[in-house]
């Protein structure tokens, strides 16, 4: 009887203790604002703000991108050993269309190569995961070079970028808070994108959280795009007729300005 009472009392104490003990610092959080980017007529990219909390002292890596897919290109080569031109097809499989990376410190100071590859962090990890396919014999055996060319091409389009030391953190009583400003490139196509915040401690990614945002056409941009793809004949006729009318209309405005050569 006494034993039972003591046990029940002990359980009660544990429960009370659990209730009033401060929760352990956990789970990096992430929030992206705005979570919906409208592409209208004056769109020239956007500024995204990624914010959240993390365990005090942890480093952070923020990765922004979309689902991995296949990318198809022409490669440049010399024809007849003299002229540079597009020679053939090359595809890169399992590569994201957009890959923007932000971190609180240099990547090599946060994670070793193996950890970077395992978490798809950095260009080296991307090239290791990517597969190259080409019918051309001259490219085979030189995959590393062409994968690097792919990264360079994406960087030039502003669709791939790595910005180290750009995540700012503020120390709180229990957790830290972090923030990063993202210059979202207008070259990024409409679609669903994911922001992934990773907390790094002792050379390992210990926690992660995700937030999503969408980029979508709106207004005139959406209507014209819809017409071009879903009613192509009408779109083509409209383009031709407006061009003819514009040409003749301006011709009439300049009526008095013309004359023989």
């Amino acid at each position: 009887m006494n034993t039972t009472l003591i046990s029940r009392f002990a359980v009660l104490l544990v429960l009370i203790g659990l209730t009033f003990t401060p929760a352990p610092a956990h789970a990096v959080t992430s929030k992206v604002s705005p979570d919906n980017i409208k592409i209208n007529l004056t769109y020239h990219g956007a500024t995204l703000s990624v914010t959240g909390e993390n365990v005090a002292g942890d480093d952070l890596i923020i990765r922004i991108g979309n689902e991995a897919d296949d990318a198809h290109y022409k490669y440049m080569g010399k024809a007849g050993g003299l002229f540079w031109m597009k020679k053939g097809d090359v595809s890169f499989k399992n590569v994201p269309g957009v890959y923007l990376l932000y971190s609180s410190r240099e990547l090599e100071n946060l994670l070793d190569d193996a950890a970077q590859t395992a978490n798809l962090i950095g260009y080296k990890a991307l090239t290791e995961v990517a597969e190259m396919e080409t019918p051309s014999a001259e490219l085979k055996g030189d995959e590393a070079r062409w994968k690097n060319e792919f990264i360079r091409f994406k960087e030039k389009q502003n669709l791939y970028a790595i910005h180290t030391g750009t995540v700012t953190r503020q120390h709180g009583q229990t957790n830290d808070t972090y923030q990063v400003e993202v210059a979202w490139p207008f070259q990024a196509p409409p679609g669903e994108y994911t922001v992934e915040a990773m907390a790094v401690r002792n050379g390992q990614v210990v926690e992660r959280s995700r937030a999503q945002f969408t980029v979508e056409r709106s207004g005139v941009v959406a209507k014209l795009s819809d017409l071009a793809f879903n009613n192509a004949a009408l779109y083509g006729m409209m383009a031709v007729i407006i061009a003819i009318i514009a040409g003749f209309a301006v011709g009439m405005i300049f009526k008095k300005g013309g004359g023989a050569h």
Partner: protein
């Protein structure tokens, strides 16, 4: 200042695009060329994907050539009869050229043929026009005459083989007599080359009209624009319908500039001599040739390129 293009999926400075339209439209009104051989590379330089640059350029050329055709029609500078014969040949040749490219694409030799055709045709046409116009200008200076020059007046000379062909017909506006087969065949030849090169063919058609059909320069410009307008109407519709590569907003920005440019070009052309016009066009054609040759021999900064376009 920025406008987002729904088909090209990129944002451009609209003032820059209107300026490009104005410049190329000016050349169109001056020389009777569509300007595709200049505009498409310029659009690609500001970040427009190649396939969209080529197709949208055709759309804006419809406006520029309509504007120019109207101006030249009012001046009586359009030989409709010749234009229609050339157009018939151009349509047949264009269809044939597209088939040649399809076969070559399948065998992998298309890009090489396209580049070489560009260099050879532009180089030959530009060099020939340059020296021919230079000689004519020198002769004019020596003769110190203000009369119409040889090149800008119709010349009826013994035509040899051309004269022996059937269906001889008089082209009133141009003041020349040719077999109807001549403009049709020449139109077809230009059509084939234009389809291979992916351009309207104005810069090829203009020399053909001047040197082979012996048409007066001013009728050449109006007739060329008339023919280009129809070619580009066909190309715009087919590209929009089959490939969804016409960006109407981009075309609108370009045509705002080009229709005004075409009118200014027509007025400016009035002040220039036929041979002066030809030598200017020759210099532009040679400059474009030099640019293409440099691109061919210098190592590109990017070793990958988007699919499509040339």
């Amino acid at each position: 200042m920025y406008m987002y293009l729904p088909i090209a999926l990129t944002s451009v400075n609209w003032l820059l695009v209107v300026g490009l339209g104005l410049g190329v439209g000016l050349l169109s009104g001056l020389f009777g060329v569509g300007g595709g051989f200049l505009m498409t590379p310029l659009l690609m330089m500001i970040g427009i994907p190649p396939t969209i640059a080529a197709a949208t350029d055709a759309n804006q050329i419809v406006a520029a050539s309509a504007s120019g055709t109207y101006a030249h029609w009012r001046l009586g500078n359009v030989d409709y009869k010749m234009g229609i014969y050339l157009l018939i040949g151009g349509f047949v040749g264009g269809a044939f050229g597209v088939q040649i490219i399809k076969v070559l694409r399948a065998t992998g030799g298309a890009d090489f043929l396209i580049k070489m055709t560009y260099v050879v045709m532009l180089g030959v046409v530009g060099t020939f026009m340059f020296f021919e116009s230079l000689n004519a200008l020198r002769k004019n200076k020596n003769a110190a005459t203000v009369e119409e020059t040889k090149s800008s007046a119709p010349v009826e000379k013994k035509k040899g083989f051309f004269g022996s062909l059937p269906l001889q017909t008089y082209f009133d506006k141009s003041g020349v007599t040719h077999s109807a087969l001549v403009p049709v065949v020449l139109g077809a030849f230009v059509g084939i080359l234009a389809a291979i090169m992916g351009v309207g063919g104005g810069f090829l058609m203009v020399p053909v009209m001047i040197y082979m059909l012996r048409m007066p320069m001013h009728v050449v410009v109006g007739t060329s624009l008339f023919q280009i307008m129809f070619t580009c109407i066909e190309v715009t519709f087919l590209q929009a319908y089959s490939n969804h590569t016409v960006d109407f907003l981009l075309a609108l920005l370009l045509l705002v500039g080009s229709v005004f440019g075409a009118q200014v070009g027509t007025i400016l052309g009035k002040k220039l001599h036929g041979d002066q016009l030809k030598i200017l066009l020759a210099i532009i054609v040679l400059a474009v040739t030099a640019k293409i040759v440099l691109e061919l021999v210098l190592e590109p900064s990017m070793m990958l390129a988007m699919k499509g376009g040339h």
